[in-house]
């Protein structure tokens, strides 16, 4: 159990670092969506199903959608 959790935490941090270094904003947004999804799984392990649901439906789905819409209306690459 603890091994799985540690791996998930590691993956989450790696995804966050990816969001930091990607110059393509769309990729960075997908990475931050991954952060939210993994966080949502961790919330579930922490016995917080309400929060896990909220994080998955709001943090991962809707936020990513509005990011993508905003990027489509602006610029995709960081200069």
């Amino acid at each position: 159990m603890i091994i799985i959790v540690s791996l998930l935490v590691l993956a989450m941090l790696v995804a966050a670092v990816a969001a930091l270094i990607y110059r393509d904003l769309l990729s960075a947004v997908i990475a931050s969506c991954l952060v939210s999804l993994l966080a949502s799984i961790l919330f579930f392990f922490l016995q917080a199903p309400d929060v896990a649901m909220a994080e998955a439906s709001i943090g991962a789905a809707l936020v990513t959608a509005i990011f993508v819409i905003a990027i489509r209306r602006t610029k995709r690459y960081e200069e």
């Binding site: 896990a52 649901m53 789905a61 809707l62 959608a65 209306r73």
Partner: protein, 229 residues
């Protein structure tokens, strides 16, 4: 320069927080308040989901504030994006494929139903107004993806937002006048534990929140997608 200052700042915060975390061991027995809520929530509010009874019962005022925050953000977003140039619709967007638009016809009502299920059962199972509202908003998101030209009915959305918010405030004020005379106190019968029609005002508030959050988030997506001059 900025980065150096930032890194020093980060290090200071890190050390400070690290030291203080030693005083908050992970997995330690929970607090008095948490214990009290778990022991008494079923009697006090009639909800089996203790998180819900905290969110909509004990700390309902926070939730009223939170709904207001979302309302503020939706309004602010509309104000920021509104320009004098007028609206132009979403030109230049290709229509979606047949599969997406046909699937949407089937899925849209199902997703709405699922969202409604989540917020009406918030006092029994995980989930509640916010999660259900987000699911409803994602149904609208699907509609925008499949037929980009479609618009949300703006008057309808405003009406839903305002009326469901008013319902929340009105329930609070009714609690002030009826029953125990406290703002947001329960004044409805609590019913039998673990049934749909129980927990007094909690399901009513959660329905109002679900509709409000759903229409606001859908409005946010709608506003952001709009091409303005």
């Amino acid at each position: 320069m900025r980065a150096t200052v930032g890194l020093i700042l980060l290090a200071v915060i890190g050390v400070g927080v690290g030291i203080s975390l030693l005083a908050i061991p992970f997995g330690a027995p929970k607090t008095e308040i948490g214990d009290y809520y778990i022991e008494n929530a079923r009697e006090d509010t009639g909800a089996t989901n203790v998180v819900t009874s905290v969110v909509v019962g004990y700390r309902a005022f926070d939730t009223l504030g939170e709904v207001t925050v979302l309302f503020v953000a939706a309004l602010g977003l509309g104000a920021v994006l509104a320009t004098a140039g007028g609206k132009r619709g979403r030109s230049g967007v290709e229509p979606a494929s047949l599969i997406l638009s046909a699937g949407n016809i089937f899925l849209f009502p199902l997703i709405l139903l699922f969202g409604a299920y989540i917020f009406t059962h918030g006092h029994l199972t995980p989930g509640g107004g916010f999660q259900g509202g987000a699911v409803i908003a994602s149904a609208f998101l699907l509609v925008y993806l499949s037929s980009p030209g479609k618009r949300i009915n703006e008057s309808g959305a405003t009406l839903t937002e305002s009326v469901s918010g008013l319902v929340f405030v009105a329930i609070g004020l009714l609690g002030l006048t009826y029953g125990t005379h406290y703002f947001l106190a329960n004044f409805l019968p609590k019913g039998t534990l673990n049934t749909l029609f129980s927990a007094g005002i909690i399901p009513v508030i959660y329905c109002a929140i679900g509709l409000k959050v759903g229409s606001e988030l859908a409005g946010v997506v709608d506003n952001l997608m709009e091409e303005t001059e």
